[in-house]
């Protein structure tokens, strides 16, 4: 049996809007095994992105615990979380979130600036990551010189360049046309199968979810 790489236990989360307390997640418990490709689906406001943020350590639950790669992220300080994220989590966003003033190469290199790698080692890693996503010849291009699909591929290269334990993707095809979406999904599938990366993907798109090994549905803050 494969090991659990993510364990979510009795996690609840709510937001405050003025004096109103809005529950988003209620007693969520589940685990993800190493090398799994998990799809999280559900209607808008069901708490998918919130759950993804909690697992990725960019938000904190009100109750419960989350353990990722043997670290209980809910017990880490903000500073520890920052370091932990840089080592264990690769992020892919719906709107790519590339730095517009940096080239594709420089965008991918960003996470490596936090490591002790030499310039040459960083160079090698960036080229490998860009070649994996098929953009080895676009290193000097700025985001505005790339199509949406290409920008998302640069974002994926940025997500994998530091060799993270888990890749989290929030609606990675949400801003793409059909063909580009297929390319990105194929790339994610390859990262999972060929490079054995654990992927957690939030999506509205059934075709995207079809690429996942497991699909979990959230509705009104509960796993169904």
């Amino acid at each position: 049996m494969a090991n659990s790489i993510v364990e979510v236990s009795n996690v609840s989360k709510s937001y405050r809007r003025d004096s109103l307390k809005i529950p988003v997640l209620e007693n969520i418990t589940f685990s993800i095994t190493e090398g799994e490709f998990l799809g999280l689906m559900g209607p808008s406001g069901s708490g998918k992105s919130t759950l993804l943020n909690l697992i990725a350590g960019i938000d904190r639950p009100d109750n419960g615990s989350i353990t990722v790669a043997e670290s209980e992220v809910t017990k880490l300080s903000e500073s520890q979380l920052a370091g932990w994220r840089s080592r264990h989590i690769g992020f892919i966003f719906q709107f790519y979130n590339l730095m517009p003033v940096l080239t594709a190469y420089e965008n991918v290199e960003l996470p490596l600036l936090l490591t002790k790698l030499s310039k040459k080692e960083r160079q090698e890693r960036v080229h490998v990551a860009l070649n994996v996503v098929g953009l080895g010849d676009r290193t000097k291009h700025y985001p505005k010189q790339l199509s949406g699909g290409q920008q998302q591929r640069v974002a994926i290269a940025r997500a994998i360049v530091a060799d993270p334990t888990v890749i989290v993707a929030d609606e990675p095809t949400g801003d793409l046309d059909k063909n580009s979406a297929v390319e990105i999904l194929t790339l994610l599938e390859r990262l999972n199968q060929e490079f054995k990366k654990t992927i957690i993907m939030v999506t509205h798109d059934q075709r995207a979810a079809d690429k996942a090994h497991t699909v979990r549905h959230l509705d009104k803050g509960e796993l169904v």
Binding site: R85, Q94, V101
Partner: protein
Amino acid sequence: MKIFKLIFKNVMRHPLRTLLTFLGIAIVTFAFGFIRTAISAWYAGVEASAQNRMVTLNATSLMFPLPISYRDKIAQIPGVESVGIGNWFGAYYKDPKDFFANFAVDGKYLAMYSEFVLPPEQLAAYQQERNACIIGRKLATRFGWKLGDTVQLTGTIYYGQWDFVIRGIYDGANATTDETAFLFHWEYVNERLKQESPDLADYIGWFVVQIAKDTDPVAVGEAIDANFKNSPAETKTDTERAFNLSFISMAGTIMTAMEVISVVVVLIILLVLANTMAMTARERMSEYAVLKTLGFRPLHLVGLIGGESLLIALGGFAVGLGALFYIFKNFAVVITKLSNGFFGIFNLTDNTIALTFASALLVGVVAAAFPTWRAVRMRIADGLHRIA
């Protein structure tokens, strides 16, 4: 790629905005440095005051003279080493607007002012000729005068035309020494006054008293003034510094206003840069959120936002300072002329440079403080939501 490169690229993201802010800071640096230099120039006489020199003048006012007969009495007071005389002449050359300081002095006066550096042969030539004069290097440059030239001044206190032959051009021993003075023999003036205006003869404007080392200037001053108590012309003796301060205090309000203006221009540019940085940071909140997501820590954001602000502020400072150096090096004479000789010592001092640099540094840091605080405190999830 290092963080500095990202800072530089961010600075260049909106070239026009950056350029305008940059130029604003350069202009303010120039204005601030210029005003501070003007204030320093005004107080240069005070800074150049010697510790062992005192000034005795009429207790009523500088406008009232003292009899020359006081000189010997002052010289006999314990602690007094030498007594020189000075008299404001108030004449002009060709145009009354072409102001410069001109004094009638005696030999002892010149001997006390070692900061006036004059070649020995020029001093000897001056001493041998009754209507000879000595002028400062900047004054010579201003009017194109050279040794041997005869200069005719028109008197405003002592009426008539007065001819002087330039026998010496002195240089200042240091940057704060006034090089715009015009000095000549008091005896020459006094002899003519005896013939033309006897009532004005044998009077001087002030005595310069050199005191012995380790002598208490207050005690000497009190002894001098006590000597002339209840006389027709009572005296008031102060250190040279106090005398110079009282002399320039007439323009104290203007100087205070200039100091206020110098602070105001810094505050204005602070608001301009703060606004630029606030706009910049607000536009980039989502990017800061992404950086935090990738593992960048608050200190990195401080470096990014603060670095950008400092780069603009210090870049503007460098350009403004460069312009100041250029102007002062190439147009010092023009400035002296434009100020009608009031600003004879127009040097960019280390103090002014340090103060200008500190102001630019302060502007850069303070302008970045609020945007940095917001970026650091921002929750990542909130920052990422700004994109959608």
